[in-house]
Amino acid sequence: MNELFDMPSDIQQGYFGVVALHLREALLPVLAGLLVALPVAQLCVRLRWLYPPVLWVTTVLYAIPSLAFFVVLIDYTGLSELTVMIPLAVYSLVVLVPAIVDGVRSVPQETLAAATAMGFGPVRRYVQVQLPIAAPAIIAGLRVASVSSISLVSVGMLIGNEGALGNLLNSGMIYHQDRLIWLSVVGTAVLAILVDAALIVLRLLVTPWMPRGARKNARTTAVQEAAR
């Protein structure tokens, strides 16, 4: 078994099956985080006093190491995929809330007034005006969340081989196959880069109205997001 992508027999899905599993385990939590973050962020925009305490809670939650989070959850959700995905969803939520709040707040007052004057109700104004204008900031947040999520799934290996590509690290160690470790590291990195690139393409697609210069600004906010 010395072909590049051959797997030890305890990994049933084959290499690309593991890659698909990794993608699912990393991105479902990001999606869940986004679904919760949208209403939470909207609440923070509506009620200004709520934002500083929410920001504090998110900072503290983000500081909790993933391994600590995983092992405490074992008691409740067992050695399962869910134990890995819940913390990842929390981290995504924590990254996305400030990104969305900043994005929605950056919509100029005149734009909102114009939308209201055109007869937009609050829901339609939110969906058709605020969200599209906030899209670059939201996608910048999604990039940070999904890349770190992809990297953290591997840690799930430590709690009963729930780490998808991370499981190959353990196999590589116990079978003395450096090839498997390389496959894990390179595979995870390539996955992260591809997802990141896909999100950049998505941003270009959903913001066709942005002039070149403004796109450049969007990139600097992405840099700021990367710095978080």
């Binding site: 405490v72 990141d196 840099v223 710095a227």
Partner: protein
């Protein structure tokens, strides 16, 4: 409440407080890893970030480097380095530094770029040398953001240094990894509590540093 009982049992057992596997030893090891990695990362990231931010050149390159470095899985990198380099400080330090440099570098750059240009021009107009502009005008104003970059780097190091126990190193991660192998859940949860406490302590330390070093005028305006 099960978890709380485990935590209580872990910390009240006096055997956990002594010897080479005692809490003080492991906490000190963890702090050593963290300070060393943060020191190296700051020595690399701060000067480059300050200079590029001051001159305003190379922002796109920095963003590219940071994005690429973020894509590297730190856990996988640690196992890979361990397999390639064996025992020693290098396999732990390389992934931790790779992890910590991007936030420091990019935040420092962004912090320097976001300084209000008016006081910088005024300083130049008054005949201040470039070094003076950098250290006496831009740096104090940019300090809160720079510290937040160092803070997120430190927190990521604290949480990733836990994983170093998997490849045979010390630190608080030992309790979690050993506890999992020994099916000693009390030890696992105790270790997790310690790491989480340490991450929160890091937040507190940086909050205190910011209180002490950021000038009151800057703090009030932000």
């Amino acid at each position: 409440m099960n978890v709380l009982n485990h935590i209580d049992a872990f910390f009240s057992d006096s055997a956990h407080w002594q010897g080479y596997d005692g809490i003080p030893t492991r906490v000190v090891e963890h702090i050593e890893y963290t300070l060393l990695a943060l020191g190296i990362a700051a020595a690399v990231g701060l000067p480059i970030g300050l200079l590029t931010g001051h001159t305003g050149r190379g922002g796109n390159t920095l963003a590219l480097v940071a994005t690429a470095a973020r894509a590297l899985p730190s856990f996988g990198l640690m196992v890979l380095m361990f397999v390639l380099l064996g025992l020693g400080m290098a396999p732990v330090m390389i992934p931790l530094v790779v992890l910590a440099v991007p936030p420091i570098l990019v935040t420092t750059y962004e912090a320097m770029r976001s300084v209000d240009p008016a006081p910088v021009d005024a300083a130049r107009g008054m005949g201040m040398a470039e070094a003076g502009v950098l250290f006496r005008v831009e740096l104090p104003v940019a300090l809160p953001l720079i510290l937040s970059g160092l803070r997120s780097a430190a927190i990521q190091i604290v949480s990733t240094a836990t994983i170093a126990a998997y490849v045979s190193f010390g630190g608080i991660g030992r309790y979690i990894i050993d506890g999992l192998y020994q099916q000693n859940y009390e030890k696992v949860v105790g270790g997790a509590t310690l790491v989480a406490g340490m991450a929160l302590a890091t937040l507190a330390v940086f909050w205190a540093i910011a209180r002490l070093t950021v000038s009151p005028g800057v703090r009030r305006s932000s």
